[in-house]
């Protein structure tokens, strides 16, 4: 199987050509948004954890990895100039991929207005390069798909997750790679995942990184919502129930690795196949995590949540017969009504993956979208709980 994509200088293949505008500190977000208005394909990502590098390394590495994502055809990196993160620290590693990257430091440019004016020149230069790009036919082995659920309800575990799981298996058989995440939501499913691990090292990571999530979110006296109210009003009662339903979407293929996203960097896939990752269960952050890992697209199972990531097209799948709406790309309701099989819906998902990879717009593309949330783990909590990373 093949699809039409945009080959970048580093050999990666984008399925869209976006201009990433990275505000390396929160103070220059307004500048970034003003420049972004000049081009419909611009995507703003803002580091809102202050301008400091110390303690925010996970965000720092994700900003670089976002620029390196094949769906970014070029990038503009902006700082105010008074923080600890230099634009060049982000721009240089992105530039190594061969795409156009520009840097702006507001204090050096002579203030906000001059920075905006120069940014608008830069975005036009990137646009000229994008307009010269021609899509080429590439094999499905160049496609990496993130798999996640959001706005889960009981229909997810019955209809959309099993259908996506079968689609994931079919896509991997056809040469693509898929990445799951949400390790917190795999608590209690470890035994099933270990059976699929390709090595002892992968088994150790599955157990260790899921355990980390349990400790991170289960701090005594600091109760946090690991199930949203929406999950529960949709019929899910406990995290175990949500997890068992969620596991279905991970398919059945061998697990090649568990990709870490942490203060030391962002790991990338090596061999093709199915991977787990530290992609968060929190929706906006998950889209950015998948993009950091190098995915070009996301398969999203839901009740009716219209989640869209501005950098990666999202194919939304729902089987909720009461809430299904225009935001969904794949209708899995027939599974609940007894009028369609899981295999029929899985086939429709695979066809949609191919057509969206080839440029077809999803139901929400360019219309609604989520913030590019830069989720990171708190290094102080990590140290206090002595949560290990794997080297």
């Amino acid at each position: 199987m093949e699809f039409l994509g945009y080959e970048r200088a580093d050999g990666s293949v984008g399925i869209r050509s976006k201009i990433l505008i990275i505000a390396v500190d929160e103070c220059c977000e307004g500048i970034a948004r003003r420049i972004a208005r000049e081009d419909k394909d611009s995507v703003v990502v803002t580091n809102w954890y202050t301008c400091m590098l110390g303690g925010n390394e996970e965000t720092f590495y994700q900003m670089i990895a976002l620029g390196q994502n094949p769906n970014a055809a070029g990038a503009i990196v902006i700082s105010m100039g008074c923080g600890s993160i230099l634009p060049s620290q982000i721009a240089d590693p992105i530039r190594k991929t061969g795409k156009p990257v520009f840097e702006l430091t507001c204090q050096h440019e002579g203030g906000t207005l001059k920075t905006i004016a120069k940014g608008i020149e830069y975005i036009k230069e990137i646009r000229k390069e994008i307009d010269l790009l021609k899509p080429v036919k590439v094999p499905l082995s160049r496609l990496v798909v993130g798999v996640k659920c959001g706005g889960s309800d009981t229909s997810s575990g019955i209809a959309s997750n099993p259908a996506v799981g079968l689609a994931v298996d079919k896509l991997i058989d056809a040469g693509a790679s898929c990445i799951g995440g949400e390790l917190f939501e795999l608590i209690g499913c470890e035994h099933k995942l270990l059976e699929r691990a390709v090595s002892e090292e992968v088994k150790e990571r599955i157990l260790g990184l899921i355990r980390n999530e349990k400790l991170r979110w289960g701090v005594e006296g600091a109760q946090v919502e690991t199930m949203s109210i929406g999950n529960c009003t949709g019929g899910l009662t406990t995290i175990e129930e949500k997890s068992l339903g969620a596991l279905h979407k991970m398919g059945t293929k061998p697990i090649q690795g568990v990709l870490q996203i942490n203060r030391y960097g962002v790991e990338k896939i090596k061999a093709r196949g199915f991977y787990l990752s530290e992609t968060t269960m929190l929706c906006g952050g998950a889209g950015v995590n998948f993009a950091s890992l190098g995915a070009q697209m996301i398969l999203w199972t839901s009740g009716a949540a219209g989640y869209e990531c501005p950098l990666l097209p999202v194919i939304r799948v729902s089987g909720n017969t009461q809430l299904y709406n225009d935001d969904m790309d794949i209708d899995a309701r027939g599974i609940l009504l007894g009028t369609a099989g899981i295999a029929d819906v899985a086939e429709a998902i695979c066809q949609k993956v191919l057509s969206v990879a080839g440029g077809e717009k999803t139901a929400l593309e360019g219309i609604g979208f989520s913030t590019m949330t830069l989720y990171q783990k708190d290094v102080r909590v990590e140290n206090l709980l002595k949560l290990p990373c794997y080297k």
Partner: protein, 110 residues
């Protein structure tokens, strides 16, 4: 049609595929759409929620997908709603304030 689905033969609950009022009779199917049995619901239960397929004593495992999804915090009669008002997680439970909000939003009789 008043449908419910039971995901696994060992399950103590089925999921409603319609809204049901107290006294309604549900037709329970398995995942291959084969009819299993009827069950009368004991209280109003909304779409997507779970009904107890038999009487469940306090401190019992609730089984769905053939596996434990939590433990009953009180006795649950056959035909009643199985949810946050009578079940808790054995892993990481929902904070109590959130549980109360869910019960309020869903008009569950607690």
């Amino acid at each position: 049609m008043n449908r419910a689905i039971r995901m696994h033969a060992d399950d103590s609950v089925a999921v409603l595929l319609c809204d049901a009022k107290k006294g309604d009779v549900l037709h329970v199917f398995d995942i291959n759409n084969a009819f299993l049995f009827d069950i009368a619901v004991n209280e109003n239960i909304l779409y997507g929620n779970k009904v107890a397929l038999h009487d469940i004593p306090e401190h019992s495992e609730i089984v769905k997908y053939g596996q434990s999804i939590g433990i009953s915090t009180r006795e649950i009669a056959k035909g009643c709603l199985v949810h946050v008002q009578n079940v808790k997680s054995l892993s990481v439970d929902i904070p109590d304030s959130i549980r109360r909000e869910i019960i309020r939003q869903m008009h569950i009789t607690d």
